[in-house]
Symmetry: C2
């Protein structure tokens, strides 16, 4: 028996466990101090009323023999795929129903899609990066190249004609930086992928936070994307489904590599290794795309956006450089006074009782930066933003 | 870009689509004839009342900020893993909580577990077989050997000292044959695996149908299994969760290969490529293991068992050889009069209006056999069993 030796090459991740330990130690030493978490990547508002009603109604269907549902289609029920098709049409994207696959999470699909590709491919990921893009490829033994995201390129790296990659990850609006590509920038990536026989894996998990008209919600708004891109999206952030689990992946019929339709390969993968999403959850997901659902989930998005705006205002007042926040719940700030990101973490916890995420945890190019999010409680975020402003100002003037 | 060329080696499966087309053609030609499906592998009774109540209660929790749940533990909530731990204890199996992983389906976990193993391993599957065991390994390019399941070995192949395999699939009670291994037989497999550095992938999806005391519910009832086996189980058949989706996989801490704990590898796989099962579904699953849940789901199992018993009685009366039905919802009958399995399918549909599944669809050794199931409606199953008896008797006397 030979195990998969590539697992031995995975780096252990201590980012969130280290944060947890530091916060616990601080709370134990200062039980009287309020600690506010602005580092959280999870939603905090309850599910929207139309979603709750759909869950109850679908549960009642499962209680009666006449309306009970057993195995559903592995790729998702048509009622949900039709709703997703209509949602794409709102952004001017025409999709066939069979191009849409319902899943239990973008993380699952982003990982599992790699089974369609040989281990002998070169992968290009940005740095800093969502660690899952790296680890899933290390597990398969692929070569990984990094595209540097820096303040100079506004944390939006562009194609480099000298770099040849086969699988390219783009997350826009980005986790962790909050930066979002414009239409023209994405067109450059699509052209690069088509010219180089590469596949773009486009993570659109934060698309619902986009406010600027020149930032596409879908890679398929770009001409040529259907011959080079796969898109992953999720209701986790769109509708607070992080604990409810529903996502969707689009593999266009026009996307072929090695003479083979990737859509047919993904359909075979999913029908062989997957049995689809819970019926009641699919009914809940469909409720998100009704008028009432769109209204209610939009209010939650507005709440998180207002939190992000409070943090942005504090950083503006303190004169701290940052990106994100406009089209994203994430803000990516430069650590004041040239601090290293873990030093700033310690300083902010000690002096302000505010917890964020050190940029170094997302890659070498994240050093000197810090991630904050708008997913918290509004009142707490208001207090934290004020303390952040004071701490940053104090550090700037040292 | 190189795609995964192994997908080109997958055989297309036309089993259920061919059945569907034949039934549709028959119904179109004979709209007045009743057609009863005894081939169905899906449950038909609604979810049990305690499960429904748990779904409603958990949905209400998701509607309030104070009780809302976002991301849960990737490997499942402790409340469910504790319930599963207690369930194993009922069969005399002591497990640590961290040996239990909650998933969305045995099909997902049976497929995904293969990522822990190198492509350069030899796989042993029975023939006939649940096609997923074969296809998931073809996708990874592994060598596949077949252990013949025949009437001579009661469709329960035993280890062969001349055959050297690294990954061994055992499904007991079996799909498609309904045959179930005894304690002594499983001990022989466990010994073989430990002696040969192999891993047993034990599919226990039908364990709740076991009636005979000498048939283990879990491979971990067998001494030595914790150093060689991984077990997959599901609530699909136990509690009618085929459309609700919840399963569990046990990877013992004592199971090491190549000096590495497979438990640690699987944990890393799941935390990297998975975000766990919906909170409300996990609450529903936990309700199955309460006294009320066990009582209610037990009534559904009894209903399906009674259906299987009606089919068994019909086959006994007609003098047809079969296995299964005792510890399984499946019955695996020899086609009467030496018929090929598709010929018997056509005959049974034409003369009795009964639909089953041709054994040839499960592998070469399935030719000449036919799968029937107890998952249908009791009244319809009663009528179908009568017609089956008549058809078989007519064929026997030809």
């Amino acid at each position: 028996m030979k195990i998969n030796q590539n697992y031995g090459n995975l780096a252990e991740s201590y980012l969130f466990s280290t944060i947890g330990k530091k916060v616990n130690a601080f709370t134990a030493a200062h039980p009287e101090r309020e600690v506010i978490r602005l580092g959280i990547g999870d939603v905090t508002l309850p599910l929207a009323r139309p979603v709750i009603e759909a869950l109850h109604a679908a549960t009642d269907e499962m209680a009666e023999k006449a309306t009970f549902r057993g195995y559903g289609p592995d790729q998702g029920y048509d009622f949900l795929r039709t709703a997703l098709q209509a949602e794409y049409a709102r952004h001017g994207v025409a999709l066939e129903l069979d191009e849409i696959f319902v899943g239990d999470g973008a993380k699952s699909d982003v990982g599992n899609i790699l089974e369609l590709f040989d281990a002998d491919n070169t992968v290009l990921v940005p740095d800093p990066v969502y660690p899952v893009y790296v680890d899933t490829n290390v597990m398969a033994g692929r070569r990984i190249l990094y595209a540097s995201a820096t303040r100079e390129n506004d944390f939006l790296p562009m194609p480099d004609a000298c770099v040849r990659a086969d699988i390219i990850y783009i997350c826009s609006p980005n986790n962790p930086t909050g930066a979002a590509y414009t239409r023209a920038q994405l067109k450059a990536w699509v052209d690069y992928a088509n010219e180089n026989d590469a596949v773009l894996l486009f993570d659109a998990a934060y698309e619902r936070f986009i406010t600027e008209p020149d930032v596409p919600h879908s890679i398929f708004e770009i001409d040529g994307a259907k011959t080079c891109a796969i898109e992953f999206c999720s209701l986790s952030k769109t509708a607070g489904f992080t604990g409810t689990r529903c996502s969707y992946t689009v593999v266009p019929m026009a996307l072929k590599r090695g003479g083979t339709k990737l859509n047919a390969m993904w359909l075979r993968r999913q029908t062989t290794k997957y049995n689809g999403v819970s019926y009641i959850v699919q009914r809940a997901a469909a409720a998100v795309f009704t008028d009432a659902g769109r209204q209610a989930t939009g209010e939650a998005i507005a709440y998180y956006r207002a939190n992000a705006a409070m943090i942005a205002a504090a950083l503006n007042e303190a004169g701290v450089w940052y990106c994100g926040g406009k089209n994203s719940p994430y803000l990516w700030m430069e650590c004041p006074g040239g601090m290293a990101s873990w030093d700033f973490f310690d300083y902010l916890l000690e002096h302000a009782g505010v917890v964020g995420t050190p940029g170094a945890g997302f890659g070498a190019r994240g050093e000197g930066y810090f991630r904050l999010t708008g997913f918290g409680d509004a009142q707490k975020t208001k207090r934290a933003a004020q303390k952040l402003r004071e701490a940053a100002a104090a550090l700037q003037s040292r």
